[in-house]
Symmetry: C3
Subunit: 125 residues, 3 copies
Amino acid sequence: MAFLELFGCISSGGDEPGEGQQYSSDKKATHATASVFINDNEDGLLHDYDVWLEKLAPHEPTSQYHHNRTGEDNADAHLKRQIMGREVVVAITKGKLDFGPWEQIFYGEFDGRRSKRVLVKIIGE
Amino acid sequence: MAFLELFGCISSGGDEPGEGQQYSSDKKATHATASVFINDNEDGLLHDYDVWLEKLAPHEPTSQYHHNRTGEDNADAHLKRQIMGREVVVAITKGKLDFGPWEQIFYGEFDGRRSKRVLVKIIGE
Amino acid sequence: MAFLELFGCISSGGDEPGEGQQYSSDKKATHATASVFINDNEDGLLHDYDVWLEKLAPHEPTSQYHHNRTGEDNADAHLKRQIMGREVVVAITKGKLDFGPWEQIFYGEFDGRRSKRVLVKIIGE
């Protein structure tokens, strides 16, 4: 499991709206075994997510999941993504992502397979 | 518990935006015991969700839930919906839902009561 | 843990769109230990969420979480927020939030620290 902080690349990803304009920015992991989520950027907490997700949706034994009969062993990664979410919708106010004091956007990778992409859409007037 | 694949009916549900236009499509189950979610369309995985949700939010014993004192026995369905999510927001690029390679939209039904509806909104320029 | 019903203040929070216009309203808790979610406004169910979240992400022992080495003891609140969600996106049809028959918007507070704010954005034509 790995967590990647996405804020840096996303904050410069769209046109700058003018003062007073409302934009909403929609970010999603486009693969069913990964998540985009928003929480606190603190290393201990990312470790806690790792332990917690493994408890809620354990990888082993892989034979417990029917999905793994397809030859994959990543059923647990699909479940973990469901807990952590697929996409986030973030308001943009005066050209900045409208976060709480500790919020950051993360990419969560749960099976470590295949290259994946994160999609960012900016919508608004 | 039942999972219904929604992609077919939704993909033709809106006006076709022109090339380069950005739309965002917002789909939700409008009932508190059902979910709309996006994951892999693989039968084994849908079975795994079923087993997993029953473990995280068991239906029995129904007396464990205060909500069931109302005469309902579907408290667990409200919890399952919370894990699987209420709505999804999907980007539309060049007239197509912008999915990852295995992503499909599903309707998840957790108490099997009442007829329900799924709402689709298309927003954008 | 506390749950606050948000519908009353939000329903009058935006301009009234004209008939036939489509708005989408995006509400989020801007802090990483709180949630905005939509479910049934029934006291027994809110109690059930409380018990259930404590089972899935227990507060005690606080030493089980690395995040709590920062001097906080709210790691469990970050996990609970992940289950219950950060934001909701609600369609607006003919000037009304487009809810199912029992759906209401709630603010969920998981660590009881700091004053927090809920952000409401209305987007659309």
